[in-house]
Symmetry: C2
Subunit: 361 residues, 2 copies
């Protein structure tokens, strides 16, 4: 690993040219956001801050859910030091572009504070990440339970091409197909920005339809079910019928569950289409047209040929985006991300081209 | 369709010999259970009855979730008339054995009433279904949120071989791996009865980890996620480590999602095994050893070869049990249940042999 920038140098042998990492987590050091908040909300933020919520948690043994080697020598939390992130991630793996997803969930807490906090996070991203590092792009952080407020933030900054996506957590207080979220989709379409839905958040309710589980591994394994629920909601509520150019990226939710979900929804739709007459296509067709998925956590079948079957059932690899999830504990490294060797053109799509096209890089 | 019993006659051409239907729903006519309740709870049952719960519902256009042709001429609800069920299901399809799953969820309402209601339902099944019709077997209905009470009912009747399973709804108020449920598993193992977990029930919380959905099709599609949650809970809590002979049947939850879940759990376990040191095998190994699945609703990939891939990913068809879901609206008929033709030995396993062996028929 080199600690200097290497973008102008040829990559070392075996390192892919132009790699795009679609899920990197940057984090403010304590106090960083306060500088971007107006006086009224700076005081509130420092005295009260965001309320807790009953969502995903992380093992104490992995503070901040981070790789143990990801704590910057300068002292802040993992993902808080640009120079360290440059060296440990962008330079080390010759990453051409990296997409920042700042994981700060803004719920319906206090409307003006929610709005100010979203603005502060995005202004902080612009000033401290996007300005100094041209390889980085970022997702707009917006309130996740208030479509109007979220849309306002998209209209404020969505014209800046360094923001390539709008970020929501997968666990919201109501499913993302509900009408309260539609003003956000309108804004996303206006600015041609995909909606990224990321592992995490919290609904205030149990993560399962059968109550609260006991273990972190259940929470971690169970998050894929919230992705399934959001996808069902987006399709069945007619979001993609109403917003035919809307694109949605499911980030850190896995993807092996998708074929089964499409089959099940199509079968249900054939029998229940009277209930959803606003759907004019098979549910699977909306999925095929509107959904992208990131690779981390990579699916790892016990038998490698089942990974190839999975790609076949997905209809190919055109919608998969490579992601490391840096600096988190379950980081997928670029050289070991794929459980089997794929045709070079297929690997190139997953590691580079799909993200380049989706995010217009 | 004949309206007389045909078990002694050869089946018509094309009809399989010895077919076993692993999911049939019988229902009491109004007032039927009262005769099996003790005086104290008969009055309570008639005046107050079971409280509602916020669980699965059915479209008004399909009252009782039933096939429109399944209403008996004698006037009761679908599944309430043995003679009609004999003619429309057992005789018509030459079914050798049918497993009755009475869908009455008994929650934590009032302990003595809960116990009396379970006893009444099972006594009613014995007197009005199992005694008069030797082709039928039944699942014991037990309170689903109280392991001690459920175990007591298993000890009361589990020695009667006409009861071949213990029935729980997939949506419980706490996941089925929790210790409160373990006394039931102890009783199940003592009587060598599988636990059947069936579509339905209600936790009191939303079915999704992201709040309440809008449409029935979302509820219907989302139920598979509750099955995933229960399977994760059973495995991660160590139920199968503690009860190595326990068998679990997932009924009406689909099965195409299972390979992805096994891959995800195995990957999580490799990274998080410190949290669950009581697990001495890979999660997928517990699944492979302890889980059976019914076919209805049959998975219907858009491309038939994907059904064959699915069987390959499942490791074969040894754990699939054919089911019609009679008399419900999404009935799978025996002659059209499989979306592709399989090898005769494989079809024979799914339609007959797997259930015969599991239920000791």
């Amino acid at each position: 690993m080199t600690l200097t920038m290497t973008t102008a140098m040829p990559p070392p042998p075996g390192v892919r040219v132009g790699l795009i990492d679609s899920d990197i987590h940057n984090t403010p050091v304590p106090g960083a956001l306060a500088r971007y908040l107006p006086e009224r909300w700076r005081a509130y933020h420092e005295r009260f801050g965001r309320r807790g919520y009953t969502g995903a948690y992380y093992p104490k043994a992995s503070p901040a859910a981070a790789r143990t080697d990801a704590w910057p020598p300068t002292g802040g939390p993992p993902g808080s030091d640009l120079a360290f992130l440059r060296a440990q991630l962008l330079d080390a793996w010759s990453i051409r572009y990296g997409i920042l997803n700042t994981l700060i969930t803004i719920r319906n807490q206090l409307r003006d504070y929610d709005a100010a906090l979203g603005q502060a996070i995005n202004d902080w991203q612009l000033a401290e990440w996007l300005e100094p590092e041209p390889r980085l792009r970022a997702s707009l952080v917006v309130p996740c339970d208030d479509g109007d407020l979220a849309a306002a933030e998209v209209y404020r900054l969505g014209g800046d091409r360094r923001f390539v996506q709008i970020l929501l957590p997968v666990r919201t207080s109501e499913p993302l197909g509900k009408r309260r979220h539609w003003p956000l989709y309108e804004a996303a379409v206006v600015h041609n920005l995909p909606i990224g839905i990321h592992f995490g958040g919290g609904s205030g309710f149990p993560i399962t339809g059968a109550g609260w589980p006991s273990y972190y591994i259940e929470d971690h394994g169970g998050m894929a079910q919230s992705f399934q629920a959001q996808l069902i909601s987006l399709v069945c509520e007619g979001v993609f019928e109403h917003f035919p150019t809307l694109r949605v990226v499911l980030i850190e939710g896995g993807f092996a569950w998708l074929p089964a979900l499409k089959w099940r929804l199509d079968r249900s739709w054939r029998r229940l289409r009277d209930e959803v007459p606003h759907l004019r296509a098979l549910p699977s067709e909306y999925v095929d047209q509107h959904i992208w998925l990131t690779t981390q956590p990579m699916e790892e079948p016990a038998r490698p040929e089942h990974f190839l079957q999975l790609l076949d059932e997905l209809g190919g690899a055109d919608r998969l985006l490579f992601a490391t999830d840096y600096p988190h504990w379950d980081f997928d490294s670029p050289d070991q991300a794929l459980p089997v060797r794929l045709a070079p053109t297929v690997e190139q799509k997953i590691m580079v081209e799909n993200a380049r096209s989706l995010y217009r890089l």
